[in-house]
């Protein structure tokens, strides 16, 4: 094992779950853990996109640490396209 692989493995072990999930969701549908195949730089850049346009400093200062951690763990992990019909609870048996 190279030192880089070792570092990534260690990082994988200590990363919070939302970061793992952020990587999972970029994996074009094969929902496997891909931390080992992405560089740490890309890995963290991907997860940082979740905060674009959010008043994240306000929340960091206004929430307790456990609240803020739970909030960060919740938001923006998924990267799928929702269609309006996905929220219909009464769906047709078969499309046209």
């Amino acid at each position: 094992m190279t030192s880089t692989q070792f570092a990534v493995n260690v990082a994988y072990q200590i990363m919070p779950s939302w970061q793992i999930g952020a990587v999972q969701s970029t994996d074009k549908g094969r929902f496997t853990r891909k931390a080992f195949t992405l560089s740490p730089r890309i890995y963290f850049l991907e997860s940082e996109k979740r905060f674009d346009g959010l008043d994240i400093n306000f929340y960091r200062q206004s929430m307790t640490v456990p609240e803020f951690r739970a909030y960060l763990n919740f938001i923006g992990e998924e990267t799928v396209d929702f269609h309006p019909s996905d929220f219909e609870v009464y769906y047709p048996d078969e499309e046209g």
């Binding site: 779950s17 999930g21 999972q24 074009k28 549908g29 094969r30 929902f31 996109k49 979740r50 346009g53 959010l54 008043d55 306000f58 929340y59 206004s62 929430m63 456990p66 609240e67 739970a70 909030y71 763990n73 919740f74 938001i75 923006g76 992990e77 998924e78 990267t79 799928v80 396209d81 929702f82 269609h83 019909s85 996905d86 929220f87 609870v89 009464y90 769906y91 047709p92 048996d93 078969e94 499309e95």
Partner: protein, 177 residues
């Protein structure tokens, strides 16, 4: 009594408890959704204001289906229909871990509470009355029944079906985005 409609803006003060429609949770989980920023801001503001965010098993069920349809389409390129599922129920099994993960994340939010049906008959009767007086789908009647049975004062949704409600003797604020 007509519901009070509030168009959400960051910093709005919420009433003392709100019920979340499934779309709020789905959009906040998915950073590619068009309402991602607003949905995450609503949830953040609710946490900051210590406002309980109620969900029900109906909400969780709807979140499950929305994600299952989206994941299935993402993975196969085709639409998940009930017929496909009935022909082969195992097609959804591959998503069980993701579903578990999403569910746990929802339940781990610090202000999330489950709306209960302590008196289940009440919920059914309220839903029946709403269905009689309002033009709503049965599922939406049950959402409102959970709201009223638990004395929840607010309802957060991107759905416009709740704009013209007229609930006798129940002051409800609908936060829409």
């Amino acid at each position: 009594m007509p519901v009070t409609i509030v168009n959400f803006n960051h910093g709005n003060l919420f009433v003392n408890s709100v019920y979340a429609d499934a779309n709020l949770l789905c959009y906040a989980r998915n950073r590619l959704s068009p309402y991602y920023k607003t949905a995450t801001t609503i949830i953040g503001d609710l946490i900051v204001q210590k406002v309980p965010l109620f969900v029900s098993h109906l909400v969780i069920d709807e979140v499950w289906w929305a994600f299952l349809r989206a994941w299935y389409r993402y993975r196969t390129g085709t639409v998940l229909t009930s017929q496909k599922y009935k022909n082969n129920p195992s097609i959804l099994g591959r998503f069980s871990k993701l579903l578990e993960r999403n569910t746990n994340k929802i339940l781990s939010l610090p202000n999330v509470k489950m709306a209960s049906a302590a008196q289940p008959l009440d919920v059914v009767q309220i839903a029946r009355d709403i269905f009689t007086s309002e033009s709503l789908m049965p599922r939406d009647c049950f959402h409102l029944a959970f709201v009223m049975a638990n004395n929840i004062e607010g309802f957060v949704t991107s759905d416009r079906d709740f704009d013209n409600l007229n609930l006798p003797n129940y002051p409800l604020t609908v936060y829409r985005y």
